[in-house]
């Protein structure tokens, strides 16, 4: 039995322990330890992916206890992909955010890194686990570390934003826990695969219906689906940049993964779509989430806030797509987990670079940024194109699958919302580009206006951030070009 599935999760956990000690004793070793442990995690995730692709699903039995009793990590192609995504983004972000962390939390860099690792452990655990209660524990590990990390941000607003996040996050996790309780009452098991074998025999059970609804609503709160999104914009906008960069792309996407896992591997597509009559309503919710997220983004004056509302909008894509009830929609939703994580990561990397140099990123204050930070803006433009859905970038392809799925399911309103949101995103980003590119630089400090165009000195972010941004930007195009391969080798084997 190979130990890679456990290693992916355990490496950052051990890293967090050691980093906690070194942060206390000798601070300069903390960063290398954290980076190494995440590097080991990435290597293990890659080996996992290779193994799953060659030899199929891996079942890893924790401590050798047999599955229905013991906790099991079950790695199929979907898990392996999301695990790889999480560990790679965590690793890259850490490398990119070194200077941001030193700038924003100079005296608490050690605790920042420890919580960062625990956050990653939680995410990877959510992805890896095959046990319903373990999923709850992992969600709570993720959430607890993100509460503390959000509170490390902006001194004035962050504690309050984090507190609101706690209130709503606790309700979400508790509802999920309650749902698991009902599943346990009904089936006597907590193992996902074991529960999945029993669900077809109790389709009419109202307890099971309650369990399903509670679990799904709990996960929806955690992923900030539209009416339940209120905690997200403030929490993410006031969080320190080094953390916002990882929580924005990963947290909501991993929760979408959890929803897909619950739908496919626990309750089963047959139960969700044939026994229950919820799908159409949920697709409408997705539609509304897309439109509402888009319009709320339009009214924002701060770039970070605007991007957080785009996250709310993108969640609508994935929830709607997953509930269309056909293979194309589900493919689009899963592909969008990957693509949206990359796109959001690129956007927040660029915004983090801007924050590093400008401190505040109100859209009106971004004049002349193309001259000042050309590389950052290049990455930002590419990511923006991907969010809008311009063909060679990856955003186009998942949207394409989603629209095809919407037509197949006859959900024209959802297809229309997808197209409208592309337009909204185009308006949003061109509004930003217009300020950055065309409006002349005004220094604001009143030390003379000398020459509008050429006086802008280049003041780029640190090289490490730029290199990571370049890697992610290239991956946006690569994920687009190879999206057919990804669908064929990763997503379709999982769905069939």
């Amino acid at each position: 039995m190979n130990n890679y599935p456990a290693l992916v999760v355990v490496a950052p956990l051990l890293g967090a322990l050691f980093a906690g000690i070194t942060a206390w004793v000798e601070d300069r070793f903390t960063f290398p330890i954290v980076l190494t442990s995440l590097g080991i995690g990435v290597a293990a995730a890659i080996s996992n992916m290779a193994l799953v692709l060659t030899s199929g699903t891996i079942q890893y039995k924790m401590a050798g206890w047999m599955p229905p009793m013991g906790i099991e990590y079950r790695i199929d192609t979907l898990n392996a992909m999301v695990m790889l995504l999480v560990s790679v983004i965590a690793f890259l972000n850490l490398a990119a955010s070194y200077w941001n962390v030193r700038q924003e939390t100079p005296d608490r860099a050690g605790s920042f890194y420890v919580m960062y690792l625990l956050f990653v452990v939680g995410l990877l655990g959510v992805v890896a686990t095959g046990d319903l209660f373990n999923l709850y524990v992992m969600i709570e590990i993720t959430s607890l570390s993100s509460y503390t990390m959000v509170a490390l941000g902006d001194k004035n607003r962050a504690p309050l934003a984090a507190l609101n996040y706690i209130f709503i996050g606790v309700i979400g996790a508790s509802l999920y826990l309650l749902g698991v309780g009902y599943i346990y009452i009904k089936t006597g098991s907590l193992n996902m695969a074991d529960v999945a074998t029993m669900v077809p025999h109790m389709k009419e059970s109202s307890s099971l219906l309650v369990a399903f609804i509670l679990c799904i609503i709990g996960v929806w709160i955690k992923m900030a689906l539209f009416p339940l999104h209120v905690w997200l914009p403030n929490a993410y906008a006031y969080a320190p940049v080094g953390f916002a960069r990882i929580v924005a792309p990963l947290m909501t996407k991993v929760m979408v993964y959890a929803m897909v896992r619950l739908m496919i591997s626990v309750f089963g597509m047959d139960y969700v779509f044939n026994t229950l009559d919820l799908a159409e309503g949920v697709v409408w919710m997705g539609t509304i989430a897309i439109l509402a997220g888009g319009f709320m983004a339009l009214s924002q004056k701060n770039l970070k806030k605007m991007l957080t509302y785009i996250i709310v909008c993108e969640i609508g894509y994935m929830v709607g797509g997953a509930w269309l009830g056909n293979e194309l929609g589900m493919t689009g939703a899963i592909l969008h987990i990957l693509n949206d994580a990359l796109m959001t990561f690129a956007l927040f990397l660029a915004v983090g670079n801007m924050v590093y140099k400008l401190d505040r990123v109100d859209i009106a204050d971004l004049q002349g940024l193309f001259g000042k930070m050309p590389w950052t803006m290049a990455g930002f433009v590419l990511a923006a194109f991907s969010i809008v859905g311009v063909p060679p970038t990856c955003g186009f392809f998942s949207k394409w699958y989603l629209i095809l799925g919407a037509f197949e399911a006859g959900a024209y309103h959802f297809a229309a919302a997808l197209l409208i949101s592309s337009l909204i995103c185009a308006v949003l980003f061109f509004k930003v580009f217009e300020v950055c590119f065309f409006e002349p630089m005004s220094d604001g400090h009143g030390d003379g206006h000398h020459g509008h165009d050429n006086a802008v000195a280049m003041a780029e972010a640190p090289a490490s951030s730029l290199v990571v941004l370049a890697i992610v930007s290239v991956s946006l195009i690569a994920a687009g070009v190879y999206s057919g391969t990804i669908v064929d080798t990763v997503i379709l084997p999982f769905l069939r």
Binding site: E140, I166, F167, V170, I171, A173, L177, G181
Partner: protein, 133 residues
């Protein structure tokens, strides 16, 4: 009427946890003071813990410790599952209690931070302070 009554009496543990949960939720939604909200949150979580603990119960059952003879060989005796209450939900709740304590601790810390910054924990006053700026 009788049916409803028997439904309530037969499943009183579920009714109780739902009532407790709603009390907690009510406090979280309507209370103005952040600490009161936190107390509501804790009641909410405790209700779920009670729900789990109650579902492990069986009538006329004892604690789930298997009595052996003088040695270690309990294996010979026939074990009837109905004689022992189900320990699994209780064990799960140990974890959930740890989680809720940790959440409560983090939330209290944040309350201290909010108080240090704004000298108040009343939500309406906080909102006023935030809109002033």
């Amino acid at each position: 009427m009788n049916e409803l009554l028997s439904l309530i009496v037969a499943k009183y543990n579920y009714w109780l946890y739902i009532i407790l949960m709603m009390i907690g939720l009510y406090a979280m939604i309507t209370k103005n003071n952040l600490i009161k909200k936190l107390v509501g949150m804790n009641i909410f979580q405790t209700a779920i813990i009670l729900f789990y603990v109650s579902i492990g119960y069986k009538r006329d059952a004892t604690i789930p410790i298997i009595q052996g003879d003088a040695g270690h060989g309990a294996g010979e005796a026939v074990i009837r599952a109905a004689d022992y209450i189900n320990p699994l939900p209780h064990v799960l709740m140990l974890t959930a209690i740890v989680v809720s304590v940790a959440t409560f601790g983090v939330a209290l810390t944040l309350c201290v931070k909010v108080y240090q910054r704004y000298q108040t924990l009343e939500e309406d006053e906080l909102r006023m302070r935030l809109s002033e700026k």
